[in-house]
């Protein structure tokens, strides 16, 4: 072995450690901006129609209920948001949903395992971004969608095919980097 190769070999563990450090830094950076979620799991429903479901409306909200029939033959892409009043990240993402709704993006909501009175109070206090709203108190429809926590947001195209799922609060970054390009792509 030439002395050069020997020296290179000596530095190899440091190089591996440095590469690991860079990758770890990238991961932390991604977690900070919300682009990388270490607990994120790809949805099994991407490329499929939303599962069949009927759910009651949230009484008092004066909004039509959301059922799977409402997710076929749409004028454009829509967002379906699973949320709950007891969910803190739902408060974080709420302004972004309000903004999208103001811009005319159809945002449909499903209140997950929430007391109707609490859901109502949440919307009265913070504003209602939803065009349609159902409640899923037993949480069974959410399981059919593959929901494993709230908030969870799905983007469906015109045909009602699920194109994207985001588990976690929809931050401003997520709106800019994911939702807006997707809305353009599936318009």
């Amino acid at each position: 072995m030439t002395p050069l190769a020997r020296r290179a070999l000596l530095f190899a563990p440091f190089a591996v450690a440095a590469a690991g450090g860079v990758a770890f830094y990238g991961m932390l950076q991604g977690m900070r901006t919300g682009e990388y979620n270490p607990r994120g799991v790809p949805s099994a429903l991407i490329g499929q129609h939303a599962p069949d479901f009927t759910l009651p409306p949230l009484e008092g909200a004066e909004l039509p209920a959301l059922t799977s029939a409402d997710l076929r033959n749409l004028p454009g892409p829509v967002l379906v948001n699973f949320w709950a009043s007891w969910c803190v990240p739902c408060i974080i993402e709420h302004p972004q949903l309000m903004q999208l709704s103001r811009e005319g993006v159809p945002v449909f909501g499903i209140a997950y395992k929430d007391k109707p009175a609490d859901s109502l109070k949440f919307l009265r206090d913070r504003g209602n971004p939803f065009r349609r709203l159902s409640k899923d108190e037993p949480g069974r429809v959410a399981i059919d969608w593959g929901v494993y926590g709230v908030p969870e947001t799905y983007l469906l195209d015109k045909q009602g095919i699920i194109r994207w799922r985001f588990a976690g609060p929809v931050t401003a970054d997520v709106v800019e980097h994911d939702i807006r390009p997707l809305l353009r792509r599936w318009a």
Binding site: G34, Y36, P42, G139, R140, G149, P151, A167, G168
Partner: protein, 202 residues
């Protein structure tokens, strides 16, 4: 301020664990026994506690159990292969998360409805994907996962073999000097440097 975490589907607590604390080792102990004896008994109890199979402490509300013990057994075995999506490193049988309980109930419902084990797993697999199965199926997307141990073994093995072969034919020792030759023959070893296997002198 952009937290990436989110709420697990639970109201008051985010608890995933669910392993109840053991009673203190001295609980119920009488007056007898000095401090050392008590300490020793406590330590033994603690040591024994380490050997308790953890899944025996798995969470299961008796009210959720199936009346038929054979079906309940099947449900438990199935549940141990299903990942709790909230805790992610526990099976639904071991997790206290509300979603895990919902999934335990679904497993039991499907079993009562007459589903086979494969059908129950398929029901959850279509909703949650490969990730819900603690033992992922072999497919193109999981091929790397399954192949990694084999590849690592082959790489490590060939590295070791290669290094050993190189060491075997390692650097040839420099030829002996005249002085060394003379000393060797004085000791009765063949002057070309060969040592005898049996250790006898020439």
């Amino acid at each position: 301020m952009r937290p990436t975490g989110r709420a697990a589907p639970t109201k008051p607590s985010l608890a995933c664990g669910g392993v109840p604390l053991l009673p203190p080792p001295h609980a119920g102990e009488g007056r007898g026994g000095g401090t050392t004896a008590r300490l020793r008994r406590g330590l033994i109890a603690l040591l024994l506690a380490l050997f308790l199979p953890l899944h025996a402490l798995a969470v299961s509300n008796p009210a959720d159990m199936l009346p038929d013990p054979a079906q309940e057994e099947r449900a438990r075995n199935l549940g141990r292969d299903i990942r709790c999506m909230v805790c992610q490193n526990q099976s639904i049988e071991d997790s206290e998360a509300p979603l895990a309980r919902d999934l335990r109930l679904i497993v039991r419902e499907r079993i009562t409805a007459g589903d086979s084990d494969a059908e129950v797993k398929d029901f959850l697999h279509t909703r949650y994907g490969d990730y819900v199965l603690l033992k992922p199926p072999f497919s193109w997307s999981t091929a790397v996962l399954w192949a990694t141990p084999v590849v690592a073994l082959l790489l490590g093995g060939s590295l070791i073999l290669g290094l050993r072969r190189r060491n075997a034919q390692a650097i040839a020792p420099p030829p002996l000097t005249e002085e060394e030759r003379r000393r060797l023959s004085a000791l009765g070893v063949t002057p070309d440097g060969e040592t005898r296997q049996d250790g006898t002198r020439a």
